[in-house]
């Protein structure tokens, strides 16, 4: 077929295309609704918790996860189209991850100094990770469908970011639904889940995303 014939054919099909903002608005609506429900649930959940330090730590973790979710969602949206602009979201993501891990690093330093004897083992949080990955997979599939509708240039990176977004969302749900008293448990399990989902997303990204 000649290029001019192809152009003719494409011009005859020049119908208004479904706007890209429709699936994006769904995506953000889910995020906003989840955040609102988290906060309302959080208020109810916190009323049951007696310790003021525990409450503060709980809020701190939730804020870190919301920061990671928002910045990774922004990067995901930027990666889903050619020349998408992520802006300061990359720095915000780095800050969010750092803030999430600062308490663990501090706790680890205290343990080394012998100030705290509380520690958690791998067997405590590893089964939880498997459940979280299973729970995050449907979210990731939805994000992959969105990527196929859009035009991502960096397939692996886009897939990895889809994994991070779905992983963070699951981690937030787990934080609010869990009854674990040791909050370091959540940091370990959440971080490991995120890393696992990032790897899965990157692996599937180069294979599944076709446009």
């Amino acid at each position: 077929m000649l290029t001019s014939e192809l152009i003719q054919m494409l011009c005859s099909d020049h119908l208004p295309k479904r706007s890209a903002r429709i699936p994006l608005s769904y995506f953000f609506a889910v995020g906003v609704l989840t955040a609102i429900s988290f906060y309302s649930f959080n208020a109810w959940h916190l009323s049951k918790l007696g310790d003021l330090v525990y409450r503060g730590y709980f809020q701190y973790l939730l804020c870190c996860q919301l920061l990671i979710y928002a910045s990774s969602a922004k990067i995901f949206v930027a990666l889903s189209r050619p020349r998408g602009y992520a802006g300061y979201a990359i720095s915000m993501l780095a800050i969010g991850l750092l803030l999430l891990w600062i308490p663990v690093l501090l706790a680890s330093a205290y343990q080394r100094l012998g100030l705290s004897a509380e520690a958690i083992s791998l067997n405590d949080w590893l089964p939880q990770v498997m459940w979280m990955v299973l729970f995050a997979l449907p979210w990731m599939v939805l994000l992959f469908m969105h990527l196929r509708f859009m035009a991502p240039i960096h397939l692996r990176l886009s897939g990895a970011m889809a994994g991070l977004v779905s992983g963070t969302l699951t981690a937030m749900l787990q934080l609010l639904s869990g009854k674990e008293e040791n909050l370091s448990f959540y940091i370990y399990s959440d971080s490991f889940t995120m890393v696992l989902l990032i790897l899965i997303g990157a692996l599937l990204g180069s294979r599944w995303i076709r446009w």
Binding site: L6, L10, D13, P16, A20, P82, R83, A151, I153, W211
Partner: protein, 182 residues
């Protein structure tokens, strides 16, 4: 960014905006001009496989058409095109087991000449076709044989008797469909 690139960018952007409002002619012109720009890109990317440029170009044009909703209008349209083109080119090369080197910046904007006259002639054909699609075969023939004057229609004496009625019927149909533009 060179002045030539800015000119091309402005022209493409203007066409993009107009075709976004459903102007078919602008979209046709846009796609034709994109083909010119992308062909030059691909000739730059594939100096050793110049016979395959048209194949990749068609893939790129199809991708631009299908993914036109991903251009949000905030950045340079040529950058957006450049990314799609490089992506499709890399995919094409990988499918054929060829290695791809990192793409350097494109600096041959001055060599790109958008062919306006060709497009306007082509656009006129499309326009006439669109106008006369409501006419019957006899009416279309009568219109084609008529000569448009300043504000009147002249028909040759030999064919006047036969085509007079058809021409008047055609004008009625045209006025019915396109009279609001007069």
């Amino acid at each position: 960014m060179s002045n030539r690139q800015v000119d091309i960018e402005q022209e493409l952007n203007s066409l993009w905006v107009h075709s976004g409002f459903g102007d078919d002619l602008c979209y046709l012109q846009l796609m034709s001009e994109l083909a010119v720009v992308l062909r030059k890109f691909l000739e730059h990317l594939m100096p050793d496989h110049s016979n395959e440029v048209e194949d990749v170009l068609q893939v790129c044009l199809l991708a631009v058409h299908l993914k036109r909703h991903t251009y949000v209008g905030t950045g340079w349209i040529t950058d957006w095109l450049y990314d799609i083109c490089v992506f499709k080119w890399m995919l094409y090369q990988r499918q054929r087991g060829r290695t791809t080197k990192p793409v350097m910046a494109f600096d041959q904007w001055s060599e790109i000449v958008l062919n306006q006259t060709l497009h306007s002639a082509h656009a006129s054909q499309i326009d006439i076709g669109k106008i006369s699609r409501n006419l019957s075969a006899k009416q279309r023939l009568a219109v084609e044989r008529a000569q448009m004057g300043d504000s009147s229609v002249c028909i040759s004496r030999a064919t006047q008797g036969r085509h007079d009625a058809d021409l008047h019927a055609a004008i009625k149909v045209l006025y019915k469909h396109w009279g609001h533009l007069c």
